[in-house]
Amino acid sequence: MWTMILTTVCIVMTMVMAVYVIWFYQSGLVEETEKESYDKYYIMITEDSKSSIWKSIYQGACERALEENAYVDWLGDTLFEEYSVEELMQIATASAVDGIIVTANENDELTGLINEAAAEGIPVVTLYGDNTKSARCSFVGVGSYNMGREYGKQALKIINERREEETAEGAIGLIVEKDGMVQAAVEEDGILGSKNRPVKVAVLVNAYAQDLDQNILCSGIQETIEQERSEDIEIELSLISVDDTNAFSVEESIRDIFMEQDVPDIMICLNELTTTCVYQAVVDYNKVGEVSILGYYDSDTIIHAIDRNVIYATVAIDTKQMGGFCIDALQEYHELGYTSQYFTADIRLICKDNVAEYLKRGENADEIP
């Protein structure tokens, strides 16, 4: 009896083994046949492939493209040699793709390349930075003027908060400090924003970029501050050029600012890298509290900095939406032969008040691989 049972068990086990072996074959075959074909093939070209903002935009574009049965490749990421945007444009054009998404600037060489691609029948969408002179079919960016206004509002808010603090501290200072020198100094300098001590607001701009958007953004800041500031506050708005010509120059330029005597009270950063660098410099030079930072983008580092009160606020772009718009523009162009000239992605302000939900989101994102 027991031998019968054992035999049956053994035979069953052998069958299971056989099934396993067959599965073993099949799995090999399935791997090879699991291909999906797509209708359209787009290429995305960006200045650098490291910043999380581009990754996020690429991800957005990818998701949108898959919905439309298209595929987007981020060109700089796949090649192991570093190429400039212009060179990558040439490669993309030669590859006869169905559409190019490129972070452009007002460079003439790039204009030529975009026109060349357009002549080959490849629609080009400029992303984030525009090349207005070229034959690009659409531009996807942020509302720079609105963004500028947001920065302006935030700057004024900072000024008001700090003046209130100083008024309180100053009063206490007069009582406590009996020493004439100090007292005289306080009176001489006056409160932040007074005639003797105007608020120094610095906008960190890219030095060599002939970027129209940047100019619009700056004017947005300027106008907001001019229009909405109270009469008694003196504000000096300045543009500080940050050298972004090579890989490490941004960080150096920012350190240079802090090495000078006259460190700005409020620093407005217009890209992710600058924000990160300024944040690190403020911590290193022990200027937390003295220098308020208005950042750009919502990387984890920046969100945590807001949480620690080092960065006052940051303006985040809906990067997913931005990537999606690029694909929408190209698809629309393929379908209709034309498309909207401008797509504007939404922006959100992240400050101390709502940073918690972004922190939570970051943690959750970590959990999901």
Binding site: C10, T14, Y25, K35, Y38, Y41, Q90, S95
Partner: protein, 497 residues
């Protein structure tokens, strides 16, 4: 139905098929495993095939570029020819590249390489055309473009190659891991198959041998003589089944045969018993008859009265005669079932001879040679008288002349011998043998006989002495007389003492 069919298969077929089945199982598993190993090794071989192809592509591209440069610098027809050939080769290789847009980045990169290469080849051919047309400015521009494109393509191929290499390496290690897993799996499945085979064989042999074992057990029982065994059930129709059936039949047949034998023996025994009973009854009846006929006491008293009458009348001889007849009958009546002494027996013979001599007027000469020390030896009663009677009836009476009887009692070594000798007609050898074996039958009861035959004498002597050699008869031939010897154990005498 199915089981029935299965049980009717012969043992040879069963054993053969079970071995074929197990071997087949092992072979199938081996083949599957071999195929698996073959499959994996093929895939291992194929892993770096892509890289080789890409290297070939890159080499071919370089050849095109070199040939173009060659032509531009030397403008020989050879280099032009080389260029065309290499361009053709490169185009052929491009044919194999993927063109579709798929989710796999390698495919897309291949597609890009293909399109860029076509662009590049266009540019190169324009360069060649311009060179042939001696359009210096144009071919320079095209050459530069082509060279740049060549670099891009090379970079692209290298990147793809690199990516593929990385991927293939991962795949390779994954394959190796699977190979290890497969090895373990193979080992386990082999062990399992072996175990199952062993189990199948054990269970099969067990089922096949079980009836044989039972058969052996039963045969052992039968060998010990126990035929009352339970008949074995015939489970299958194979050789074992046939043997079991035959055995069952054999056991039944033997049982029946033994029964029949026993019955016939029983019948024979009953028959014999009946015969004996009849004889016994006959004897019994005869005795009863005699008893009924002659009331001994009455006869004895009658004779006594006769004797007294003779004495009163003064007839002494008559008185003596009647007295002795009365003594003889009394002895006859009293001692026939008892143990007596030799003396008693001799006295009895004396009476008998006296009576006969009176009857036949002294025909018989009676002589006695007796060792007196042996007179007290015990012996069964009514032995000597029948012997003497036989001597008279068969030996002497038929003889015309005077008969002689000699009775001697003497010692022979440790036994006592009583000899009765006559000078009668003697006995033939056959008659002696017949008498000794007890098969001699007398026709009719002779007159004056007390009805005790020689066979009765012999058997009673045998019972008494517990010895076989109790009597011997010797006769020296016709007319030479007969001598009968009786042997008694000395111990009867000892007991007496």
């Amino acid at each position: 139905m199915k089981f029935r069919k299965l049980s009717s298969i012969s043992l040879q077929v069963k054993i053969s098929s079970i071995y074929i089945f197990t071997n087949l199982l092992v072979m199938i598993v081996n083949v599957i495993l071999l195929l698996g190993i073959n499959n994996i090794s093929n895939r291992l071989d194929m892993v770096y095939q892509d890289n080789l192809h890409l290297n070939e592509l890159s080499d071919s591209l370089t050849v095109v570029q070199d040939n173009m440069t060659d032509y531009l610098s030397s403008k020989t027809s050879d280099s032009l020819e080389d260029y065309y050939r290499s361009e053709q080769d490169y185009r052929m290789m491009l044919e194999d590249l993927n063109e579709e847009i798929t989710g796999i980045s390698f495919d897309r990169m291949e597609r890009n390489i293909k399109y860029m290469s076509e662009d590049y080849l266009e540019e190169v051919s324009q360069t060649i055309e311009a060179k042939r047309g001696r359009n210096v400015e144009k071919y320079r521009i095209h050459y530069e473009k082509a060279t740049q494109m060549y670099e891009y393509i090379n970079t692209y191929i290298s990147s793809l190659n690199m990516e593929k290499f990385r991927n293939n390496s991962e795949q390779y290690s994954a394959l190796l891991q699977r190979f290890r897993l497969f090895e373990v799996t193979s080992l386990i499945s082999m062990v399992l198959v072996m175990t199952s085979n062993v189990c199948i064989i054990i269970s099969f042999v067990g089922t096949s041998i079980r009836p044989l074992k039972k058969l052996a057990g039963s045969a052992d029982e039968v060998a010990k003589g126990n035929f009352d065994i339970e008949l074995l059930p015939v489970e299958s129709e194979d050789e074992v089944g046939v043997v079991t059936g035959a055995f069952n039949q054999m056991v039944v047949s033997i049982g029946k045969y033994i029964e029949r034998l026993r019955e016939s023996m029983e019948a024979e025994r009953a028959l014999k018993e009946r015969e004996l009973m009849m004889e016994a009854h006959l004897k019994d009846a005869r005795l009863k008859y005699l008893q009924a006929q002659i009331n001994p006491h009455f006869l004895f008293n009658t004779l006594n009265a006769g004797a007294q009458l003779a004495m009163m009348e003064g007839a002494d001889r008559t008185y003596d005669y009647v007295q002795k007849v009365a003594q003889f009958y009394r002895y006859n009546m009293k001692k026939s079932e008892e143990t007596v002494t030799i003396e008693d027996e001799i006295e009895m013979v004396d009476y008998y001879v006296y009576i006969l001599n009176v009857r036949f007027a002294g025909d018989i000469h009676y002589e006695k040679k007796i060792d007196p020390s042996l007179l007290s030896v015990e012996m069964p009663g009514m032995i000597l008288q029948p012997i003497v009677e036989n001597c008279v009836n068969h030996g002497i009476r038929e003889m015309g002349s005077e008969g002689k009887i000699c009775l001697s009692v003497y010692r022979v070594e440790h036994s006592v011998c009583i000899s009765v000798k006559d000078n009668g007609i003697g006995m033939s050898r056959e008659t002696i043998d017949k008498v000794m074996s007890g098969t001699y039958r007398e026709e009719g009861m002779a007159a004056g006989s007390n009805g005790i035959g020689m066979d009765n004498v012999i058997s009673r002597m045998k019972l008494f002495t517990k010895n076989e050699d109790v009597m011997a008869i010797s006769s020296e031939g016709e007319g030479m007389g007969t001598e009968v010897f009786l042997y008694l154990n000395d111990r009867q005498e000892t007991r007496q003492e």
